[in-house]
Amino acid sequence: MSEINTLPRSAMNVLPLKERMKILRRHMPELDPKVRSRNFEEVNLGLQTDDALTESSRCIECAKPGCVIDCPVGVDIKQMVALIRAGDFLGAAAKLREDNSLPAITGRVCPQENQCEGGCIVGKKGSPVAIGNLERFVADYERLSGQLGLPPNAPSTGKSVAIVGSGPAGLSAAGDLIQKGHRVRVFEALHELGGVLIYGIPEFRLPKSIVKGEVNNLRRMGVEFETNVVVGKSVTIDELMHEEHYDAVFVATGAGLPVFLGVPGEHLNGVYSANEFLTRINLMRAYNTEEYDEPVYDCRDRNVIVVGGGNTAMDAVRTARRLGARTATLVYRRSDAEMPARAEEVKHAREEGVEFCMLTAPVAFLGDEKGWLTGARCVRMELSEPDESGRRRPVEIPGSGFNLPTDVAIIGVGTTANPLIQSTTPDLATNKRNYIVADNETMRTSKPGVFAGGDIVTGGATVILAMGAGRKAAKSIHEYLTSGEWETAVPIS
C-alpha cells in the first residue's frame, strides 16, 4: 500500500472492496458495426471521463498486483489507476510513460486479456478492470491536452546509437536512449515511419495520426530519423559502426518474409500474403483508389477468404469487409479456442459480419484459364493431441474436401526471418530459422556493440513484446556505452 499513500488522503478510494466489486465494467463505446464495416474509421471511440473515473474505482488495489506482474514492460498499473481515480489524468499519463513510451498505441493494440487484465484479481470473479481502455484514456487525454509530459534528456554523453527499424521495438528504444543523453538515429526501410504500426495494423484499429504523434514526440526529444534506408543493402551494420561511427547498433527490423501455404495455385492472381494486402491498403492507402495510385484487387461484391487465426489475419479479413466484399471469411485450421487473435478483434469481426470457417484448411487454389483465382479447395480438420506449441494438432478428416468460391485469398499464417542484415553481417549469429540470436535480458548479439530485439529475434509476436525488447535493449545499450564492457553471451555459430 505504500505507493498509494503518495496520493492525497482525500483521493483515497473510500469505497469498501465489496462495493467496488459490485460496479460493472464500463463498456468501450464503439462505432455502429453497420456503419464501420463500410469505412476505415476507428472502431473504439474511447471512454468518457465519467466512465474512466468509475472504471478506475473498480480497482481493489491488491498488495501484489497481478496486472503489473503480467505486463510485459511492468507498467505501474496500480498507481496509474489510482491517479485516474484521483482525477489526475496527466499524472497518470506521466506514470504510464515511465515504463511505456507509446501508451496511446499499446492502449489500442495490446492483447490485454492475456496480460494485465488476465492478471487482474477483480477478473477472477467478474470482469477485470478495463486497464487497456484506461491506458488509452489517459494517453488520449494527455495528447489532446497538449500538455505532454515529455521527460527531460540527460546531458549529452557524446555517444551515438543507430537503430534499425522504426517499429515498436525501435521507437521505444529510441525514446529511452535519447533520454540518457545519447545521440539516436533511426533508419527505416520504407518511406513512412512506424513499421508494422503503419503498414500492418489498419487505421480502424490504430489511426495513423496516433503513430505520427508518437513519432513526432520522439523527434521533439531529439531523435533523428532517416527513411528509405534498407540496412543490409543501402548500408551494412559494419559501415554504420566503422564509417558512420555509431558506438552501438540496435537491430529491430521485425519479422520479415511472409509464409505461404505451399499448396498448388498459390501464384494465381488474387492470392495475396496478408503483408502485401495490408501494406497496399495501409501504407499505400489503396482503399482510396480515387486519390492514391497504388492498386489493390477490387474486393467489392467479391468473395474474400483470409487464411489464419492471428491478429494479422483478423486485420486482413476486417479490411476486406470494409472494402465491400460480399463475403469476408476467416478460414482457420483449428477451432475458436486456439485462435491467437485478440478476443476484442474476434468480437468486432463477428459484429461486422465476418464469417468464420473453423477447422478448415485450403489444400489448393483453383483458377480460370487466364490465371485468376476462382475458388479454394478446402478440407475439414479435427483436433487431436497437443503439439509442441501446446495447441491441439489439426488433422485432416478423410473425404471432407469441398470447394469454397473465392475471388481473393489472403494468406496470414505467419512470417519467417528477413535475411538482409544477417546475410551482410557475417559475425552476427543466427539460429536455425535464421532469426538473430540475442540474450534474453541484455539483447546482446554475438557481435560486440550490436543488439537485437523484437520479431527479428523472437519471430512474429506482439507490439508490446517488441516494445519490451526495445526497452531492455535501451537499458543494456546504455550500460554498454557507459561501461564500455562487452561480455559475449552469445556464441558465434
Partner: protein
C-alpha cells in the same frame, strides 16, 4: 527528397535521369535496382539502375513511359525532385570469367544490362551484346553498348536500324555458326526472355534472366513479386532479380504481371487527360516539401 541533376530523352518515351542519392551510389553493383515513389499519393515502382557515381553521389536511371507513374516521371526535368528512392535492392549480377558471354537486351533492358556487361568485360570475358528494339527510335545507348562489348549487334523488329529480326534470331545465328557460348544474360520483355530460355535450356547454356515482377516494398516483406522457379516460390526482390532462366515459369510471371492491367490502363488514360494539372500538382507538392525540409 532526391534531386534530379540531369534529365534527357534517349529514345522514344525513354528518358535518362541522373539523381542525387549518395547512399545508393556508394553501394550499387551491376544488376541491382531501386524503388521509387514520386509523391505522397504515388505508387512504389521498381526501376533499373544504369550506373552510379559514388564520388558524385549520383545514380543514373532509365525510364520508359509505360504507365501513369513512369509517364509522370518522364515529364520531370533537371532541378525537379523525386520524393522517395530506396536501394540498391536485389542481388548483384554474378560476375565471373565465363569465357564467351552473350547479353541480349530489349530496348530499355539495355540500361539494366549495361553495367553487368561492363563488369563481365572487365572480368576478361568476350562479351557479345545483342540489343533489340521495335524500331530505330527505341534503340538506346548504342555507343555505350559498343564500348561495353567486344562484339555488338543491333536488331530492330522492323529493320529500320541494324539488322531486321528479334534478338533471338541473332542468338540462333551465333549458335548455328558454331560459336561456343559459356554464359547468357537476357534482360527485356518477358516473351523475349522466355524465347531465349527456350533456345538455351536444351543446349545446357547457363542463362540468367532479370525478372521485373510487380513489387511493393522491395525488401521481401510483401511477397507480391513471387515468381515460380520449378515448383519453388522465390521473391524477385530479395532472391533475385536474376534467376536461372531454365527454371523460371514465364507463363506465371506474365499472368501475375497482368494483375492490375485494367487499372493501369485506366490510370494512364486519366493521366493523359490531365497531364498538365497532374504535373503542376506534383511540382507544387514537392516544392512545398522541399521548403519544409530547408526550414528544418
Amino acid at each position: 527528397m532526391y534531386k534530379i541533376l540531369e534529365a534527357r530523352s534517349v529514345g522514344l518515351n525513354i528518358k535518362q535521369f541522373v539523381i542525387e542519392a549518395p547512399r545508393i551510389a556508394r553501394k550499387h553493383k551491376p544488376g541491382q535496382f531501386i524503388i521509387l515513389r514520386l509523391h505522397n499519393k504515388g505508387e512504389r515502382i521498381p526501376l533499373t539502375i544504369k550506373s552510379s557515381d559514388a564520388k558524385a553521389g549520383t545514380v543514373t536511371i532509365v525510364v520508359q513511359a509505360i504507365g501513369k507513374t513512369t509517364s509522370l516521371l518522364n515529364c520531370l526535368e533537371a532541378g525537379d525532385f523525386v520524393l522517395d528512392i530506396v536501394g540498391p535492392l536485389g542481388h548483384p549480377s554474378e560476375i565471373e570469367k565465363y569465357g564467351t558471354v552473350v547479353i541480349l537486351a530489349g530496348s530499355v533492358g539495355t540500361a539494366m544490362a549495361l553495367p553487368t556487361a561492363i563488369a563481365l568485360k572487365q572480368a576478361g570475358n568476350h562479351v557479345i551484346f545483342i540489343e533489340g528494339a521495335r524500331s530505330t527510335e527505341m534503340v538506346v545507348f548504342e555507343d555505350e553498348v559498343r564500348q561495353a562489348s567486344n562484339e555488338t549487334y543491333m536488331m530492330t523488329d522492323d529493320g529500320s536500324y541494324g539488322e531486321q529480326g528479334l534478338v533471338t534470331k541473332k542468338l540462333d545465328d551465333l549458335i548455328a555458326a558454331g560459336r561456343k557460348i559459356d554464359f547468357i544474360l537476357a534482360v527485356g520483355p518477358v516473351p523475349m526472355m522466355r524465347a531465349v530460355a527456350s533456345i538455351t535450356a536444351p543446349l545446357g547454356i547457363k542463362t540468367m534472366v532479370s525478372l521485373n515482377s510487380i513489387m511493393v516494398d522491395g525488401t521481401g516483406m510483401c511477397g507480391g513479386c513471387r515468381v515460380l522457379l520449378g515448383d519453388k516460390s522465390k521473391f524477385a526482390c530479395v532472391d533475385g532479380p536474376e534467376f536461372d532462366a531454365s527454371q523460371v515459369n514465364f507463363e506465371v510471371l506474365m499472368q501475375r504481371n497482368a494483375m492490375y492491367r485494367e487499372k493501369e490502363c485506366a490510370a494512364l488514360k486519366n493521366f493523359k487527360q490531365n497531364m498538365k494539372a497532374e504535373l503542376a500538382d506534383l511540382r507544387e507538392e514537392l516544392a512545398a516539401q522541399e521548403t519544409q525540409l530547408c526550414l528544418k
